[in-house]
Symmetry: C2
Subunit: 355 residues, 2 copies
């Protein structure tokens, strides 16, 4: 029911994803009066879906605390997350209120042992392919231990999505200060450099322009700067596209040139299509929850579902759990981390939830 | 002597700027063996320049503290800043080591009364024209009072550059959290909303994608996120340009289309030309210092000089001083700010330095 367009985008999106992955089954939660007429027009999806009616849906601008109060136990968002909790679903995908989705996911699924705060990871198109960037807005600020957890979870996600044994990892920093960057970023760098993490290849600090270059597979930052970087890149891409459109419309020569090169422009458009990278993955939870952009269309929502499909297929949670366990072990000798963080092993519990 | 190319870019850049503003005079500081042969080939510039030889120049990767130690009193960078301090020059422009330039500027020129930390302001091309974005990397973190100072200084710069009486101002924030954004950002928002600042029009929070849209004339943020936003946008623009180039080269039809539309592509290139927005303005100091991008070419360096020219012509420092004095007055009744911040009036002192 969430997002700018609700079921009218979610259902056609699911239908598109089903074509690509015919072995998917959908549990749909929402308002019967809205969902059923739409579902009747999508017989392929209907045949692979189980629908559960609920009157309650979370509004886009409610605070997470409000949403939890009226939506807990009965809203469509809660029911989708709860299906993951109960093992009925492998992944929950929503285009709804991000804060509410995060709060409910955290409340219901709980955090992976050893990780105390969730993160949102995004897939970023780069000149070399794609990179995982996290945290893009789940929480503000991060101490060195949280940054190291982000590196661990992000590299597990990169292993799953890019099929790389040891993804390269960089810490987002700025290079114009006497003391290069925040104390906690430097400290996280020290831990990653010295800690001998077996399944990530730490490459040091990266700057904002390294993200688009694809300098590393995983870019780690706290959520405030990460969210601003993400939105700024989206804004710049839109700006460029608008300049290009205007330029190509200015003279008849340009329009003719555009016609001749329209295949090339199509390629460019696909390259820059933000829908393809739609889907923020909530990391650190005992379950996979994907947040689709609220303004996504059916193609975009399908991309978010696809991402969830890959996460499950390649056992993201099990890999995070393994990584966490190994990292904690590897670091136990090197680092004086608060003991609460070391109380794993979390691997087993996690892979249980991911089946 | 600074930047990736040193005098071989700085001197032709100055020569270009001189064509646009023939009333400019240049004080040049550097190594005679390098500068004189270049200057001999630029008779127009030579006629309007006074050259001072020094053996010492600041290396690009030295720490500010090192640079201060060996460069104070004798390096080309120091001498340029010192000329501003002595009133011999109106503005210092350098493509050199940013941290060193900032440290020397601060050490020699001192801060404007009431402002305790410097900022770097950049000019950002937007869909509506240009916006001032600050701080893009002078210092990390900012409390609410520093954010308000940034708003005041940034709007003074926007008044000077865009000739707007009351520039619109937004605080950069993220919109996906329960508590929307950092405490100090919210608190700065409250001060700006309630404080009745006569020469800025506070418009609330903006997100990363609002920068490129041109939602406000002045975007205020602390330096870590600001620097990451700036570099990320640069990276995205470069990425887009590279995709476009590749797409236009893929087929002969595309290449033909490109030829027909090359005027349009030229327009686009100019629109996106990062050289045009080259020049970070150091704000908060008793003097105007402009940092050109280290990798800038002559055209880019000329743009940095042009920016300095406008700052002086339209009396940036006097306007910042007036704004600070008025704001402090306006806020004295509303806000419990530490008294050190209210010990102005700074207007008079500042306009003295700007003459």
């Amino acid at each position: 029911m969430g997002g700018d367009h609700g079921a009218s985008v979610v259902l056609p999106g699911a239908d598109l994803a089903l074509v690509r992955h015919p072995d998917t089954e959908f549990l749909l939660f929402g308002d019967q009066a809205v969902v059923e007429p739409l579902l009747d027009k999508l017989p392929r999806l209907k045949a692979r879906s189980t629908f559960t009616h609920t009157d309650v849906s979370i509004r886009m601008d409610d605070k997470p605390s409000q949403a939890l109060r009226y939506g807990r136990g009965k809203s469509s968002m809660w029911l989708a997350i709860d299906a993951v909790k109960k093992g009925e679903a492998d992944v929950a995908v929503s285009a709804g209120n991000t804060g509410a989705l995060m709060a409910m996911s955290r409340f219901n699924l709980k955090m992976i042992e050893g990780i105390d705060r969730p993160a949102i990871a995004g897939l970023w198109p780069t000149l070399k392919g794609e990179s995982v960037v996290l945290d893009v807005g789940a929480s503000i600020g991060a101490d060195e231990f949280h940054l190291v957890h982000l590196a661990t979870m992000g590299s597990a996600m990169a292993r799953v999505l890019f099929d790389i044994e040891r993804p390269t990892v960089g810490l987002l920093n700025i290079g114009v200060e006497e003391v290069k960057g925040l104390e906690q970023v430097r400290e996280a760098g020290r831990i990653l450099r010295e800690g001998k993490f077996p399944h990530l290849d730490y490459r040091g600090f990266v700057e904002g322009d390294d993200i688009g270059k694809g300098t590393v597979d995983v870019v780690v930052t706290e959520g405030f700067a990460g969210n601003i970087a993400l939105k700024t890149a989206e804004g710049t891409a839109r700006q460029f596209a608008q300049y290009l459109r205007a330029a190509m419309n200015r003279t008849w020569m340009a329009r003719l040139g555009y016609l001749l090169a329209r295949q090339a422009f199509q390629t460019l458009r696909e390259k820059m299509d933000p829908r393809k990278a739609n889907g923020g993955v909530f990391l650190g939870l005992n379950g996979v929850v994907i947040k689709s952009h609220g303004g996504a269309d059916a193609e975009g929502f399908a991309a978010a579902i696809d991402m969830g499909y890959d996460m499950i297929r390649y056992e993201l949670l099990a890999k995070i759990g393994q990584s966490m366990a190994r990292d904690l072990q590897a670091r136990a000798t090197d680092v004086n981390e608060p003991t609460a963080e070391q109380s794993g092993p979390s691997g087993e519990q996690v892979s249980g939830a991911a089946k």
